[in-house]
């Protein structure tokens, strides 16, 4: 066990007691990055194919900037000051957040040379709390994907549990980094499952807070009605610590809710006896496009995953939680079709700002006029995923008069929200405090297996996207391994602004399974590295 393998809350205590310095913690983490990460993602790299045993989480490592921050934390402690609740904790940031004076690329050629002139609110809050930013980690281009393979910056991240497989996405760099001990905390974003799905694939904790709980200021926008920044961590206590630092109102984001932030740590280990946890058959069936190209079929969840969910329910029942079965969530399967419409319209709108005029890439070709410059710049600067989202956004907007896709999708969104409202209604039939579900329909898939089929890739988010439509919070927790040794995640979903309760349930599950054999495993990428 090295310093970089310790949870954030423990590092904070040790640093504040001067048992270890922030600089020592940082150096341990930088050594780990050196040992396991390999080549950072870049526009040029093809050589990553040679480093198939590395994690490749990073695009930009800002080691000198991190050293200055760590030294400031140590100086503050020597001067008897409190550097804050994240004192000296190294963390990574998904490269979809602007951080002043660092390249902020969104994993796209069109922003490869963009250096942000300001810092996103959640990053600024982590730094103000004493956190030490290590750098920017890789992601699907503009967050558009579920495997992190679509980044223009190759090699894309690999799964520390099996480097021939994807880490999930789009926050795959965040979850791979945390799993490999490259900083105990990471800041991700979740639009359809982009924190929870890769957290499940990499065996770490990932939380999507309620929409509006964490400011989006400085987040490069995808689906503005869906995007949520949130924590990735090894342990639930660390996720709570991080959420405490980043949550809250922000005058710079008109959708950041003006609601006081609960104390996520104060009641973290209170008992869960009497809490009502639901199970829904609609989360144990998965939908897939038919390989023959006609229609969709439903099939049962892989047994290893449904078993893990049932085991988790059993362990929570041991603690006195009431398990409520057969909760109907009938509109779950329409989450992806509605998302195909809503997210594309929002993405197309948000991507119109990239035009080669104000910042970022501009075509070097000779062009006759401004329109040609726009068209060439965008064709050369965007990869296939942003192009697909812009084109579909144009289609469903243009077809609005005849087909009404957009209105239809927003009305289906109402039904999805309604499923949750009925399940959580304190005066209703089910009166749930939380719904327990699998996080993903499969465990991590091999690199190259799904990428290229944009429909199949989107269906990787089918169990996470309903929470984004509804705006409610969700957390993915490690819950065991499948027969191939790949992590399985379970998800807890709760009513609006119920983060404290979800964290408490997650912590209870973590404590009751602490001695389980599966908890003692470590990712193979750390064999011979951890010492």
């Amino acid at each position: 066990m090295q310093l970089c393998d310790l949870p954030a809350y423990q590092l904070v205590e040790m640093i504040k007691r001067r048992q270890v310095s922030a600089v020592e913690v940082l150096e341990s983490t930088l050594q780990r990055i050196q040992a396991v990460d390999g080549l950072p993602g870049s526009l040029a790299a093809e050589g990553g194919a040679l480093e198939t045993d590395k994690v490749h989480a990073f695009i930009t490592l800002t080691a000198e900037r991190a050293r200055r921050q760590a030294e400031q934390v140590d100086e503050a402690i020597r001067a008897g000051e409190d550097p804050g609740p994240l004192a000296g904790v190294p963390f990574t940031v998904k490269d979809i957040f602007c951080v002043r004076d660092t390249p902020s690329t969104a994993g796209s050629r069109i922003l490869a040379n963009f250096v942000a002139p300001y810092t996103a609110t959640p990053v600024a809050r982590m730094e103000a709390a004493g956190g030490v930013m290590l750098g920017k980690v890789n992601l699907d281009e503009f967050t558009y994907g579920s495997s992190s393979e679509s980044s223009a910056f190759q090699p894309s991240p690999r799964n520390p549990w099996d480097t021939s497989r994807v880490p999930g996405g789009s926050s795959g760099g965040c979850t791979a980094a945390v799993a490999a001990g490259e900083g105990p905390l990471s800041l991700g974003t979740d639009t359809a499952g982009s924190i929870r799905q890769p957290a499940a694939f990499c065996g770490v904790v990932g939380m999507k807070p309620t929409y509006g709980r964490v400011s989006r200021y400085g987040l490069i926008a995808f689906g503005s009605s869906l995007d949520c920044p949130g924590p990735v961590a090894h342990q639930v206590r660390d996720a709570a610590l991080m959420l405490q630092a980043i949550a809250g109102r922000d005058p710079r984001d008109a959708t950041a809710a003006n609601i006081p932030v609960e104390d996520y740590l104060a009641r973290l280990e209170e008992e869960v006896r009497g809490l009502r946890i639901g199970l829904s058959p609609d989360y144990f069936r998965i939908t897939y496009p038919d390989p023959q190209g006609e229609g969709f079929r439903q099939e049962p969840l892989p047994a290893a995953i449904s078993d893990a969910v049932m085991r988790a329910a059993g362990r929570l029942a041991e603690l006195g939680a009431d398990i409520v079965e057969d909760v109907p969530m009938p509109h779950t399967r329409f989450g992806i079709p509605a998302y195909f419409v809503i997210s594309r319209v929002e993405a197309a709108s948000n991507l119109h700002r990239y035009d080669g005029v104000k910042y970022g890439y501009r075509t070097p070709d000779y062009v006759d006029d401004l329109n040609e410059m726009y068209r060439r710049t965008r064709a050369q600067g965007f990869g296939p995923q942003p192009k697909l989202r812009i084109l579909m956004g144009m289609y469903v907007s243009a077809a609005q008069y005849s087909q009404q896709y957009y209105t239809l999708a927003l009305r289906v969104r109402t039904l999805i929200r309604g499923d949750f409202e009925a399940a959580f209604d304190p005066a209703g039939r089910y009166r749930l405090h939380a719904l327990l579900t699998p996080t993903t329909p499969t465990t991590a898939f091999p690199i190259g297996d799904v990428y290229g089929d944009s429909v199949l890739m989107q269906y990787a988010d089918q169990l996470t996207v309903p929470a984004n439509h509804a705006g409610i919070p969700g957390i993915s927790l490690p819950a065991g391994f499948d027969e191939a040794g790949l992590p399985i995640g379970v998800q807890l979903l709760g009513p609006d602004f119920s983060e404290a309760l979800l964290l408490r349930l997650g912590r209870a599950f973590e404590m009751v399974t602490a001695e389980d054999a599966w908890r003692q495993r470590q990712p193979p990428v750390l064999n011979g590295v951890r010492g």
Partner: protein, 105 residues
């Protein structure tokens, strides 16, 4: 089943999207879009009561939790030259672009 998005319609969409696409790339993208539309068509099978309204945000945002509107105060960025320097081409503090085509309305 015939494609919803024909090559002609796709050309129109690419123009709206301001994308100048190579033929081969365009065919791949058009094929993917048509596959995605099959998923979107699933929405048409859902019985929707007249009373079901549209939701544009999941979480309801009543005035009591919406942040108050900020005061209308000028807050100039301290280093405008840094912003201009991000532009692919600039001259004397102005951003330079190719000829702007004029359309008679």
């Amino acid at each position: 089943m015939s494609d919803d998005i024909t090559p002609e319609l796709f050309t129109h969409l690419a123009r709206l999207a301001a994308l100048e696409l190579e033929a081969q790339e365009g065919e791949y993208l058009r094929h993917q879009l048509n596959n995605q539309l099959k998923a979107i068509h699933e929405l048409e099978a859902i019985p929707l009561d007249e009373a079901v309204s549209a939701t544009s945000h999941g979480v309801t945002f009543p005035p009591e939790i919406a942040p108050p509107i900020r005061d209308d105060v000028l807050a100039p960025y301290p280093h405008p030259e840094e912003i201009i320097a991000q532009a692919p081409e600039s001259e004397d503090g102005y951003i330079v672009v190719p000829d702007i085509p004029h359309t008679e309305l």
